[in-house]
């Protein structure tokens, strides 16, 4: 600590000949400044989740949290650039208003309740099986149809291909045909 803070005091540094508005004014914090992306533990190569241009994103993670998302300069599509929505991607992922717990509204209920994930999954599976049985349609106008019109689905178009694939596969096997997506509308 010899010299300590006093040697950094702007007035002292200025007397030592430094320009009072340049070197002499720098705080220790200022001297230590580096871009935080340098400290990231990992960088994932990702793609913006908003429109369909498909801009490359670099997702920096530090201590288990996203510390920065910015454009991937290598991308021949976006050349490292992002629009305001793409630039807000970190906030999309990290903002405090994001809902991270299962919520349940019972029939005729007036408030949300908390439910653990496993229970919710079991309850949903029970309902699919029951509704499918109750609304099963083996034939329609004398033709074999093997389906249920009791269960429907509407997906957004930010679903991954792999997700859409498992959805269509499972629904089709279950006989649910009212399977739709933002892509129609």
């Amino acid at each position: 600590m010899a010299g300590g803070w006093i040697s950094r005091w702007p007035v002292v540094r200025q007397l030592q000949g430094e320009d009072g508005r340049r070197e002499a004014a720098r705080s220790r914090r200022t001297d230590a400044l580096r871009p935080r992306v340098e400290e990231a533990d990992t960088v994932a190569r990702s793609v913006c989740p908003y429109c369909a241009v498909g801009c490359g994103q670099l997702v920096y993670v530090k201590d288990g949290k996203v510390s920065q998302i910015e454009g991937d300069p290598d991308s021949p599509i976006s050349r490292g650039r992002l629009c305001p929505k793409g630039s807000a991607s970190k906030q999309l992922v990290t903002h405090p208003g994001r809902q991270t717990h299962v919520l349940y509204r019972r029939p005729y209920g007036t408030e949300w309740e908390r439910l653990d994930l496993e229970t919710a999954m079991d309850m949903i599976a029970d309902r699919v099986v029951r509704t499918r049985r109750e609304t099963w349609e083996q034939t329609h106008d004398g033709k074999e149809v093997r389906r249920t019109l009791g269960i429907a689905s509407l997906g957004g178009a930010t679903l991954d291909n792999e997700e859409n694939y498992l959805m269509k596969k499972l629904y089709t096997a279950l006989g649910a045909i009212q399977v739709e997506n933002q892509a129609r509308i």
Partner: protein
């Protein structure tokens, strides 16, 4: 494009810097309009008049790219003598049944095809209710790759002559009268488009939902296709018709469709009344010539992917396990099924129909009549919270305590918390690496459906109805602390494997005998060599502008579709300037910076032998390889529900009479005539103004991914309408004040932005005012900013081909001030309804 795809727009700005002339045609003066060479304001819902007039201009003045047109399009093909055009029937094509409002399309066929397409398409009127697949546009079994033609283009029934006659009434005068674009503006556009097409130059058209969300949406795109084919702008660099899609993987959601009428790769879902076994289905679902001639390989490989070893030739590869359609099972039909109590359970996954779909009230009444609802999202969107905060609670139409719907909100993983592929608007698959685990209960949709499938299978037995689920291949490796199914394993299944489980290199390896399996034939090869091709990231600086080693484009990593057309019939580049894919006679191969969209070793001189099938039936000069005749279709003999050619019809709701034909609106459009979905009468003085909906750069769709974010919400904090100073004066609206917009559905309130960017359109003697509203707001959704739901104003009226709703052109009234609350709102609407 600047407004909704700003980063893609960098290439337009760069093209302009290099001398490209850019036009923007839109009812709304947006950020795009501000940065182009010429902005043309158009009345919403009239684009076919404009494009039709360009087509007429090209045909009348002989400006088509004749060599291209003759070799690569069906201009010379002769059409059945039974066909009657709108010219003959005052706005109807032949085959219209006024009773059902549907067309029997038999008479639209090529000469000699009539019997085949009858069997193929609308022979059973019930089938007319189901949206078609792509194979459906391939004419039909037994149709030949070489229908009769007249290469002199003089036969009165050849496509070229039919086109000429059909579009002759689309004149600059009609453009002025219906679109509000002056003859001078039209002339400048026509000159630019034609001068920049041909051997040396190409013109591109770019559209978004402003072209699709109409009761004639498909025909908008068709009109552009005709123009581009006539000008030789398809399959060539700098040409094409580009759909700028609005969501990260909306293209992928179509390719691997969560859509009722399709199986992966644009294969039709089987229909109860059209198809029996697999053979029958394959016979009726496409032609034998062109690439769709291979459809047995694609369908069998899909069934093998789903039912594995249990799918054998003896049991038709479990084709019987596929449920059958009997009509329209699309989104809006589903909502009506909810209101009627037929649909009991509903999954909504990253979507917000209570805000984002037309006629929001019908959507919410449907939700309120379910037994159970599962919503998966990052935020509690309005679709999840409708039971406590829907507008119908305020009006008393719904009471929270009376709504029986059980609601599960399941928090989703964000795009950085899972791995997988998006398919962008250029058909490019890009793999996303996972950056970190999702927090708390958040899980990917892949996790959700995989584990839900497992839980369901635990609950099912072995009886007939359960067997398709129990026998489904559902054994993906599990990874990580949440036991996520491996997305790479799923992608591998999608990309296809041979009998030994080795990844396939290309869709040409797919077999009809059950020895290959492939979850989506157009994605076949995405895992070639056991490598995740979509994860390739060779930096742009290390490869040419086509960048073939960045991600992977379907099919077969081809970046420009139909690129055989970038060379002349002999295989030579049309010009040095527009050189792309061409025939290297020395090597006996097609070559260029892109993967040829053609058999690489099929010479231009190839002529098909008698009786050839699939691609072998197409000549070395047939670039449009998915079509049964290898030609670009100026005229569409099969596959469309509302006509083989585009015709202008007014939107369902319009203040203007259609002066082109005696038909006001699309005779084949689908209406839903129910109390929940009243329509404003056409030409109604109660609803004198045109409205159109739009988006803003600062928000995303129904707002679930933007309204909760402070950095975006602050940039556009409130719902507003844009009106002209003239309309503001007429109605008494003040900039910054409030306005109420009224339709037969409901009334909503918003702030007012008075701007000279919006101009009243003078159409002959009539003035039409247009009101522009972005639709990103809703009543909740965890939004830092909330507002009324613009889509509550829109009616449900659908394009008959694809069942998309008409959101981009409607009529309304506008009043100064805020809307009435509670019951008073219903009273206001009643007054309007009974006018």
């Amino acid at each position: 494009m600047a407004e909704c795809h700003p980063v893609g727009y960098q290439w337009v700005m760069e093209a302009r810097e290099r001398g490209a002339k850019v036009f923007h045609i839109d009812p709304r003066f947006s950020r795009t309009s501000a940065t182009v060479d010429r902005y043309l304001q158009i009345r919403a819902g009239t684009d076919i008049v404009l494009i039709g007039a360009l087509i007429n201009h090209v045909l009348t003045n002989g400006l088509d790219f004749r060599e291209y047109v003759l070799a690569y399009t069906n201009a010379a093909t002769i059409v059945s003598e039974e066909f009657r055009d709108t010219e003959d029937l005052d706005g109807l094509f032949s085959g219209y049944d006024p009773e059902s409002g549907r067309y029997d399309t038999t008479s639209w066929a090529y000469e000699g095809d009539t019997g085949k397409t009858e069997e193929m398409s609308e022979g059973d009127p019930r089938h007319a209710e189901a949206a078609g697949s792509d194979s459906y546009g391939a004419r039909g079994a037994g149709s030949t790759a070489t229908p009769p033609t007249d290469p002199t283009l003089s036969h009165p029934r050849c496509v070229y002559q039919i086109l000429k006659r059909h579009f002759s009434r689309y004149t600059p005068e009609r453009v002025a009268e219906l679109c509000g674009i002056s003859p001078e503006q039209f002339a400048e556009l026509a000159e630019a488009v034609t001068a920049n097409s041909g051997r040396e130059r190409t013109t591109a058209w770019v559209y978004s939902v402003g072209w699709t969300q109409h009761s004639v949406g498909v025909q908008y795109i068709r009109s552009a296709a005709i123009l581009q084919l006539l000008l030789g702008n398809m399959g060539r660099p700098g040409g094409g018709i580009m759909a700028l899609r609005g969501h990260a993987s909306i293209q992928g959601s179509t390719d691997i469709p969560t859509l009722f009428n399709l199986l992966p790769g644009y294969i039709a879902m089987p229909h109860a009344h059209r198809h029996d076994g697999l053979d029958h289905y394959l016979d009726r679902e496409g032609g034998d010539t062109g690439w769709w001639g291979n459809r047995r390989a694609y369908v069998v490989s899909l069934l093998k992917a789903w039912w594995g070893d249990g799918a054998t030739e003896e049991n038709d590869y479990r084709f019987d396990y596929l449920p059958r359609l009997t009509g329209d099972h699309g989104h809006y039909a589903t909502v009506m099924g909810q209101i009627d109590g037929k649909v009991k359970g509903y999954f909504v996954v990253g979507e917000n129909p209570a805000v984002g779909s037309a006629n929001g009230k019908a959507q919410r009444l449907g939700l309120a009549n379910l037994d159970w609802l599962v919503v998966r999202d990052l935020m509690v969107v309005e679709t999840a919270s409708f039971w406590k905060d829907a507008p119908e609670i305020e009006t008393g139409e719904l009471r929270t305590e009376d709504i029986a719907t059980e609601v599960f909100f399941m928090p989703a993983a964000s795009h950085v918390e899972k791995e997988g592929t998006f398919t962008n608007t250029q058909r490019l698959l890009q793999w996303r690496e996972k950056a970190l685990d999702p927090p708390d209960d958040c899980r990917s949709d892949l996790w959700f459906y995989y584990h839900l499938g497992k839980l369901i299978r635990q609950r099912l037995g072995g009886d007939g109805i359960d067997r398709p689920v129990m026998e489904l291949t559902w054994d993906y490796p599990e990874e990580g602390r949440h036991r996520d199914p491996s997305a790479e394993a799923v992608l591998r299944e999608i990309g296809g494997v041979d009998a030994d489980g080795r990844p396939l290199a290309s869709l040409r390896e797919l077999k009809p005998d059950g020895s290959t399996s492939c979850g989506c034939w157009i994605y076949c090869g995405v895992y070639a060599d056991g490598v995740n091709q979509a994860a390739r990231r060779k930096p742009r600086g290390e490869q040419g502008p086509v960048a073939p080693e960045w991600g992977w484009a379907w099919p077969a990593n081809r970046r420009i579709l139909y690129n055989r057309a970038s060379a002349d019939p002999e295989g030579r580049p049309w010009s040095e300037r527009k050189k792309y894919v061409y025939w290297d006679a020395e090597k006996g191969r097609w070559t260029g910076p892109d993967v040829p969209d053609f058999e690489e070793d099929k010479p231009p001189s190839y002529r098909p032998p008698e009786g050839a099938k699939a691609q072998d039936a197409l000549a070395g000069t047939d670039p449009f390889i998915m079509q049964s005749d290898g030609k670009g279709w100026l005229y569409v003999p099969s596959g469309l529900a509302d006509g083989p050619l585009p015709a202008h019809y007014e939107p369902q709701e319009s203040p203007i009479r259609n002066t082109l034909y005696g038909r006001q609106s699309n005779p084949a459009r689908r209406t839903i005539d129910r109390p929940e979905n009243p329509y404003n009468p056409p030409l109604s003085s109660r609803f004198p103004y045109v409205f159109t909906t739009s988006r803003l750069t600062e928000h995303h769709t129904a707002g679930g991914m933007s309204r909760p974010l402070p950095y975006l919400a602050e940039l556009q904090p409130a719902l507003f309408c844009e009106v002209s100073p003239e309309l503001a004066a007429e109605v008494g609206l003040e900039n910054g004040g409030w306005a109420t917009v009224v339709t037969e559905r409901t009334a909503i309130e918003m702030r007012v932005l008075v701007t000279g960017r919006v101009r009243p359109l003078r159409l002959g003697g009539t003035t039409v005012h247009q009101i522009v509203m972005p639709y990103h707001w809703g009543y909740g959704g965890g939004g830092l900013v909330t507002g009324d739901v613009v889509n509550d104003l829109s009616p449900i009226v659908l394009d008959p081909n694809v069942y998309i709703q008409e959101s981009k052109a409607g009529t309304c009234d506008i009043l100064p001030g805020r809307r009435p609350r509670g019951q008073a709102l219903l009273a206001l609407i009643e007054r309007y309804r009974h006018g």
